[in-house]
Symmetry: C2
Subunit: 281 residues, 2 copies
């Protein structure tokens, strides 16, 4: 799955994931389905993935779940090479995780689901029964209170480490399958760097740039693997609410995604310098 995502990123020349997280009180037009389709149209040429945060659809009830379903169908139609991430952060015991995997892959038809591994490997296994689909395990999150549990010091096989690093160790168990990645925040760049150096293989979904404070270039350099790939950077509010004017929200969303794409690509250039940026300064 993650090979497909890296292939999509190469084809689109973009490691941008657009987060479709609409809230009725912030969306500038009344029809959220139309809003989503407009954002998809405006950003698909400068992004390689779309991420739907399930909470925002669930908060709209059954109507929201229908919008979610139709948005995914629309992306399949107009952007068939793009990867769709279902961000529900699910996780449960084996039987229940199996039902969640059914929901994510068979019902909603996302390519990659985000999951919690607090319940251990049982939570992960059912999702791996689907060839060509994958999971991102929530590892290091963007928010300040992520320290409460994730930063607890535990004994590791090679000295003392932290809970989030042990969660990443768990992902390494399935590293050979190419279907288990990690969610790692942009807002703690040192942790992002450490995780990448200790875990060279898993694909990273990196949220937290833009509205949440992460800086795109630094994030791209810290998150990339040795081949300069192995990650996507998600931006939600920074793209979909780039303008909240009904006249130009889609155009501005496209511009914001394009800017993020360029910042990432610039950061990944071999010498870390971008002549274009320099000439503009």
């Amino acid at each position: 799955m993650f090979e497909m995502l890296d292939a999509a990123a190469a084809k689109m020349n973009s490691r941008v994931c657009v987060g479709l997280d609409p809230t009725p009180d912030r969306v500038p037009i009344s029809d959220i389905g139309v809003f989503n389709r407009s954002i998809v149209d405006a950003t698909k040429d400068v992004a390689s993935a779309f991420k739907l945060q399930f909470a925002y659809y669930e908060a709209m009830g059954v109507k929201g779940m229908i919008i979610l379903e139709k948005t995914i169908q629309y992306i399949r139609k107009v952007a068939p090479d793009h990867v769709i991430i279902g961000d529900g952060k699910r996780g449960d015991i084996l039987m229940t995780a199996t039902a969640y995997a059914t929901a994510m892959f068979e019902v909603w038809d996302v390519d990659i689901a985000t999951i919690y591994a607090y319940q251990g490997s049982d939570t992960v296994e059912p999702f791996l029964q689907y060839p060509g689909r994958g999971v991102y395990i929530v590892c290091r999150t963007t928010n300040p209170s992520s320290r409460d549990i994730q930063d607890l010091i535990v004994d590791g096989t090679d000295g003392r480490t932290r809970v989030f690093d042990r969660v990443a160790d768990l992902a390494d168990r399935w590293a050979g399958t190419e279907n288990v990645g990690l969610v790692v925040a942009a807002t703690f760049p040192d942790d992002l760097r450490t995780l990448r150096s200790r875990h060279p293989n898993p694909h990273f979904l990196i949220p937290g740039v833009g509205a949440q404070g992460g800086e795109a270039e630094e994030t791209a350099r810290a998150g990339a693997n040795e081949q300069g790939g192995g990650f996507v950077i998600n931006s939600s509010r920074g793209i979909i609410y780039a303008s909240r004017n009904p006249e130009d929200f889609d155009y501005e969303a496209g511009r914001a995604a394009e800017l993020l794409r360029d910042q990432i690509n610039d950061a990944l250039k071999p010498d870390g310098l971008n002549p274009q940026t320099i000439s503009l300064e």
Copy 2:
């Protein structure tokens, strides 16, 4: 909220929570909505709470979410004193957790939501903005691989402890609010006892009896607080699939719930002995 749940338990003389976790291939009749309503009718007099595991409804797609919604409306109508637990194990950063709280309490209208605290206090706070509603934080789970993360040894304020105990410490932060409880498995009775002795206040939702192997009497004694309350024991498969015959599944579900109720109540009798049980032996 948990005072209301204990009041319901006292009124019904039952600490049984019936888990409504239907899967189409196991339910003995074709209409899952009718199945749920039959189980509610058959068990409401011997239970004080119902728990809906969201995964099973999501696995049926939009149709499943409509069944979920209608089942909750039905419980409100025929069992208005009963407490409804939405078992979705949600959790995310502040803005997203706010959307999940909206979904759980305003849209689906459950009384208590289960959540993961892997992202720390940010995840919990939005749910506490609803007076008269509550959360159970997932702490110690029933499955073998729960050891992967939950059992990691960390430094505690009073010596070395485990991750799940630190999650329980987190719940104690809001202990005064009476709206934060814990999910603690029946399948690790020593951990259940330890958690109860270290955390006398939070309400416990205890899954894992019956199909998953936990023993009801021992669980009740280990999970009860000093007043002999402060918990409900959930059984899903053990009740709803007590019979898979379309003719008597509801009757047998009622019997299974009644038996579990009696086992729990017997265990909580002051001297731990039950004359009725003894006379039957």
